[in-house]
Every structure is written in C-alpha cells, then in structure tokens.
C-alpha cells in the first residue's frame, strides 16, 4: 500500500514537471521579439485573461456562464444518447431478431461523423438548442451502442449455464448475468461518449450560438482576440479531462471487480 502511494506520488510529480516544462517552453517560444510571439499570446497573458473572464463578461456571460451552458448541452445530449445507446446495445446483443432488424441500419449510420449531421440538424431543429442536442446525441450514441452491444454479445455462455443450473430463470438471466457482465463495456462506451459529446458541443456552438465555450472561440476569432481563443481552448481541454476523470471515478466505484481484472 505504502509502495503504491509512493509510486503514485512519483507519477504525479513527473506529470507536474512535464506540464511545467511545457509552460516554460511555451513562454520561451512566445517571448517578445519572436514570430510566434506575434501570432500567439504567452501562458502568463492567457492565464491573466482566464482569471479576468471569471468576473468580467465575455459577450453576454462570464466564463462560468459559458461553461454552464456548454455543460448543460452536453448533459442533455449525452444522457439521451446513453439511455438510447444502452437500451439498443443490450437489445441487439441479447435478442437475435432485434439484432437482425437494427444492426444493418446502425452499421450504416455509425460511420457518419457527427459534424456531417449539422446541416440536417439545423433544417430539422432550427438554430436553437434542439439542433445542438441532436449533434451531441449523434456523437455519443453510436459509441455507447457499439460498446454495450459488444458487451452483451460476449457474455460467457458458461456463466449463463452456471446461472441456469443454479435455478436462474430465462427472464432473470438478462438482469442478473447479461447486464451485470456488460457493465465494464457500458462504462467504456460512456467514457468515449462523454469525450466525443464534449468535442461535439464545441463544434455545434461554433456553427451558430450566442453563448458557450465554442462560441467564445469563434467570437474571439472574429475580433482577433487571441487570448480569448486560447482561454476557450484550454478550458475545453481541462473540462474534457475532468469529465473523463469523473467517469473513471464512477466506473471504479461501480465496477471494482473489473478494476481488479485490469490491475
């Protein structure tokens, strides 16, 4: 245990040192007098601007408001995508008839990148929130579905046999065995989906929006405010990282047994 803590400490130390080195390199490359320095602000300017945006408004809102709006969009789109993806994945993985019906359609729609839906989303849902939810839904849905489907398909038949022998009825096999053993796959799908949903919200906001982190970047671009663009980009990175860390935390709580397997 102590050894593990020590290893974790070393790992965090190395990570921090790497980030510091990167920031130093960035500061050095964009120092006064360099070409890159004209094109791009240094880390100190970006950080100062970031702090400023927490109390002064960028457009209609402070950065907190923009973050809230982007996160709200992700949450709505991701939740709908997750529910539909888990249901369809389990249904296709467990029931052959449903697999035969839905798999071909799903396989046809799956390779279409979410951004390709933007025009249709605008036509169908207009320029309001509906279209953004739809883009986020599309980007999360296929990731969840394909992972859950794989999970439900790869349930060890011996486990089903063992459960049957212990008196488990056909109806109970599904919740007791199929869903339980698919949980790690469900979480893999959710992890990928949350990252891709976050990427999609930014793209959706860049197309047409009046707030959100994506809007901040496009607005910065139109007025040539490099600091604002950089703040937007960094906030996207940090929130994306926090979201996937959060998902990993939930996973390790709910699938302690599968974490055992991984370590």
């Amino acid at each position: 245990m102590k050894k593990r803590k020590k290893i974790n400490g070393v790992r965090v130390g190395i990570g921090a040192a790497a980030i510091c080195s990167f920031l130093c390199l960035w500061a050095f490359a964009t120092r006064e007098g360099t070409t890159l320095g004209i094109l791009m602000p240094g880390p100190v300017e970006v950080f100062t601007h970031l702090v400023e945006t927490t109390y002064t408004k960028v457009g209609p809102l402070t950065i907190w408001g923009h973050m809230f709006n982007s996160l709200r969009r992700v949450l709505v789109g991701f939740t709908i995508a997750s529910c539909c993806g888990i249901l369809l994945g389990l249904a296709m993985g467990w029931n052959r008839t449903l697999e035969a019906i839905f798999r071909p359609i799903f396989e046809l729609l799956r390779p279409i990148p979410p951004l390709a839906w933007i025009s249709l989303a605008i036509v169908w849902f207009g320029l309001g929130e509906g279209g953004k939810y739809f883009i986020i839904f599309v980007s999360g849905f296929s990731n969840v579905t394909i992972n859950v489907y794989t999970g439900a398909k790869s349930v060890d038949p011996e486990l089903i046999g063992a459960a049957k022998m212990l008196g488990c009825s056909e109806r109970r096999i599904f919740p007791s065995i199929v869903i339980r053993s698919s949980v790690p796959y469900i979480f893999t799908g959710l992890q990928i989906a949350i990252s891709s949903s976050w990427a999609a919200v930014v793209a959706a906001e860049m197309v047409r929006s009046t707030n959100g982190i994506g809007w901040m970047i496009t607005a910065g671009q139109s007025v040539g405010n490099m600091e604002q663009i950089m703040v937007g980009i960094i906030v996207i990175g940090v929130i994306g990282f926090l979201l996937s860390t959060f998902m990993r935390g939930v996973e390790s709580k709910l699938c302690a047994w599968s974490r055992v397997q991984d370590s």
Binding site: D156, E158, L159, G161, A162, A163, K164, M165, L166, G167, C168, S169, R172, I177, R180, S181, V183, C255, A256, W257, S258, V260, Q261
Partner: protein
C-alpha cells in the same frame, strides 16, 4: 420426495445430434441415490455434450432423462454443475458467488448465512470471502465453484473435468476434499474426466465411453474403500483395466 425409485437418475436411449453429426448414440444407464459415478472416455468423445444434455443445457434429439422417475426440470430438481472452466461470476465476491444459488431459491437470510459460512469454511476460503474471483488462484476459484455447487445441497451434482487444469498436487487435494463433501452432504455425483487415475480414485462405478458416435463401452464397479492408495495392487489393476478399455488404437 422419498426413495420410491431405486435410481436417482435414469437415462433412457439418450441420443444427441448436431445437424447430421451423431454425437450420443442411444445411451442408457442408471445412477443410484448417493452414488459417485465417473464417466471416462477418449478425448473428443462427446463427454461434455453428454453432461450438457443431461443437464438440459442442450436439447436432446431423442430419449429421456429422469430424476426420481420424472423428466428433468431445473426448477423442480436441485441440480448443480461444476464446469471445466471456472464459472464464478466475476462481478460478485466469493461469498456472493456462493450465495447466488441460495438467493435464487429465495432461502431465508439466516439459512443462507449459515450454509455459506459452512461451505466457505469447508473449502478453506473463509478468509478470502470478500475477494473478487480475479484476485484468486485457479485452485481457489475451483474450490469456490465447488462451495457454490454444494451450498444448494444438490440432489445431483454434475462435474465436467473440474480439475483438468490444475496441477497434480492441487488435484489430489481437491479430490480428497470432494470425497469428504460428497460423504457429508450425501449427493449423487456424476463426474466426467479423461483422467483414468482420477476416475479410479474417486468413483464407486465407472462408465467407459467409446469414440463418436458415443456409446457405453463398459461399466465397471469400484468397491475399494476410501482413502484409496494409488500404488495399491488392486488400484493399479483397475486402472489398467480401464486403460485397456479406453484404448481405441
């Protein structure tokens, strides 16, 4: 249920085909109450198909299998199956694995606790009850599977080469453990193996199967007292007898 029938398990004209491939060819035999029956046969002779048909995991093509004189019904008859692979549920702790069958059968909480404690203790896994299967070794996993099977106090226990993947020392240990459990719980055991020595060591009777399409080649009674000595002349003689029967070359 009583003992109206002389036999616990009756297999009548059991036939199993996969498409055109005949695997089990009109097999009939009986197993007495509390008997320890071993089934041996050459590799690939359809031993697992045989057990899967017996346990209703496969639908049989023809024939019938009776327990206490009635067709097998997993809801009614208390059958347990120990597979070749370790079939513990990886998302449950060892304790929860052993509890699984008892919870399905909706036993009272107090009885579940008592039984699980007893069987975990018996297979020496009490200390590891809160571990997940992936944290344990092969022999521990198979012991957990054995505890789970015995915990439901099965009328019939089916075992499909349960020790096939263990090293010889662990196998000996678990074989002795199995004999002890079988005697204490009093259950009818059908044990499939390709290991002739194991069959002679454990069984009260041995069925020797032929190559596919599988039939029963011979039936040998084994009355040696437990614990058996694998170096004793009568043990060696019986082992050779079974070996000669199993030779298909």
């Amino acid at each position: 249920m009583g003992n109206k029938n002389e036999y616990k398990v009756q297999v009548r004209n059991l036939t199993k085909k996969f498409g055109d491939l005949l695997v089990l060819d009109d097999i009939s035999f009986d197993v007495k109450e509390n008997e320890f029956l071993c089934i041996v046969g050459p590799t690939g002779c359809g031993k697992t198909t045989f057990l899967n048909s017996l346990s209703k995991l496969y639908d049989i093509t023809a024939g019938e299998i009776l327990i206490n004189g009635e067709p097998v019904d997993l809801k009614k008859h208390n059958i347990a199956y120990i597979f070749q692979e370790y079939s513990n549920f990886p998302w449950l702790t060892i304790r929860e694995n052993v509890e699984f069958g008892l919870r399905i059968k909706k036993m009272p909480e107090a009885e579940i606790k008592e039984r699980v404690d007893y069987f975990l203790d018996m297979v020496g896994l009490k200390k590891f009850q809160d571990y997940y299967p992936d944290q344990l070794s092969a022999s521990m996993l198979q012991r957990a599977a054995i505890a789970r099977a015995f915990a439901v106090k099965p009328e019939v226990l089916l075992m499909d080469e349960p020790y096939g993947q263990l090293d010889i020392e662990l196998r000996f240990k678990l074989e002795d453990e199995l004999i002890r459990l079988w005697r204490e719980v009093g259950t009818t055991v059908i044990f499939i193996t390709h290991n002739i020595e194991e069959a002679v060591y454990l069984s009260e009777r041995i069925l020797v199967l032929t190559n596919k399409p599988t039939k029963i080649k011979a039936e040998i009674s084994n009355t040696m007292a437990h614990p058996r000595d694998i170096a004793a002349p009568e043990f060696v003689e019986l082992r050779n007898q079974v070996t000669d029967l199993i030779k298909w070359w």
